[in-house]
């Protein structure tokens, strides 16, 4: 099989786009990961997909919740 067009980053990860493209730059091992275990997270009040304002702290479930930060729904 011919080698497919593309690029490989330092992790050996194949990318169809150049690895120096802004969204493919890799942070260092010590990149920030925000609030540590055992600490309270900052207040979150944002608009959801239906246009409603959602306050995370006041809508957590009885056991708490899962908050996932992602890069984009679209790319």
């Amino acid at each position: 099989m011919a080698e497919a067009a593309g690029y490989y980053d330092e992790f050996g990860f194949y990318s169809p786009q150049p690895t120096d493209r802004a969204t493919r730059r890799q942070p260092g091992e010590d990149h920030p990961t925000g609030p540590e275990v055992g600490t309270r997270v900052p207040a979150i009040e944002l608009t959801d997909q239906s246009g409603s304002l959602v306050n995370v702290q006041s809508t957590l479930g009885a056991a708490g919740g899962v908050v996932m930060f992602h890069r984009s729904a679209y790319w």
Binding site: P16, A22, V37, T39, L46, Q49, G64, G65, M68, W75
Partner: protein, 296 residues
């Protein structure tokens, strides 16, 4: 976008266990509304359009300059990661990966959120047994997907009245050990359950042991050696070979160390990819075919 779809598959079970689910990005509300409608997302997709929350968490991606990819809103994105919160909003666990493409599967997130072993997909299970030992090997998901971290589970059954030594036992004992191999896989460290402490007074020793069913879990991903973004999958499945070695003992004596292996044929599946990736790959390949030169 893949992980949003993966999380939808476990959203109801999280809710049934008292856990709310939120996904945050700097996407505008309109984009989130369209994505939610197209992909059947029912949990909260929150729009942090000016990245204020992302900044307050201290996780804004600093590698993207303000003028880069403006139309795509690259500047202001977060380093992707997941927080597990208790009912007071205190972090109980978090999951960040250096590589942007690496993320936990829905089933892996669910098990971590609930603090319990993963449930195995009924179609990706293999068993092996000999006279004494038996094991069941399975995957948390229906297939492996590029850089999505699934959980490989290995249930080792030890007959009643016998035990196997656990890692950390005195050196005269052969502890339970497991190896996992397969082409194009990235395999993480084995997560061991807590062992019982066996007090052997006549030997003046206390050793950690396992009895009955022992659940071992191993994070596992398929890499771009096998599955490539924007490309069709050329292999339908990969073989994951799991070998367990154990020395079974009763209160008086031990048998010889024995080895048991199983090969789990694991399906591969494509990610839910943004359409742009596919178009980009097709264009690059077309130009290369036409010019006979590599695009770089």
């Amino acid at each position: 976008m893949t992980q949003l779809v993966q999380l939808q598959q476990v959203a109801e079970e999280l809710a049934a266990n008292g856990l709310a689910l939120y996904a945050i990005s700097n996407d505008p509300v309109e984009i989130l509304a369209e994505f939610a409608a197209d992909n059947g997302i029912t949990y909260s997709l929150l729009s942090d359009a000016d990245s204020a929350v992302i900044k307050s968490f201290g996780i804004m991606n600093q590698l993207i300059e303000p003028d880069e990819g403006r139309s795509m809103r690259w500047h202001g994105i977060a380093y992707p990661g997941t927080y597990f919160l208790d009912a007071d909003g205190v972090v109980t666990d978090k999951d960040f990966h250096r590589h942007h493409a690496r993320r936990s599967s829905g089933a892996t997130v669910l098990a971590r959120a609930l603090g319990r072993p993963v449930e195995l997909d009924g179609d990706v299970v293999e068993t092996a047994a000999n006279d004494e030992l038996s094991m069941r090997v399975g995957l948390s998901d229906d297939a492996l997907r590029l850089e999505v971290i699934s959980t490989l589970a290995i249930d080792v059954d030890i007959p009643e009245g016998l035990h196997a030594y656990a890692p950390g036992s005195p050196e005269q004992f052969s502890p339970l050990d497991v190896t996992v191999v397969g082409d194009g896989l990235r395999i993480g460290d084995v997560r061991w359950p807590e062992a019982e402490q066996l007090d052997m007074t006549e030997l003046d020793l206390v050793a950690p042991v396992f009895s009955r069913t022992v659940r071992l879990e191993v994070p596992i991903t398929i890499t771009s050696d096998v599955v490539r973004l924007g490309h069709e999958i050329t292999a339908e499945a990969v073989d994951i070979t799991v070998s367990v070695t154990a020395q079974l003992c009763d209160d008086v004596s031990c048998g010889l160390p024995q080895r048991l292996s199983a090969v789990l044929s694991t399906p591969l599946a494509r990610l839910v990819e943004p359409p742009g990736i596919q178009h980009y790959v097709e264009r690059v390949e077309a130009i290369e075919a036409e010019t006979g030169q590599s695009v770089s």
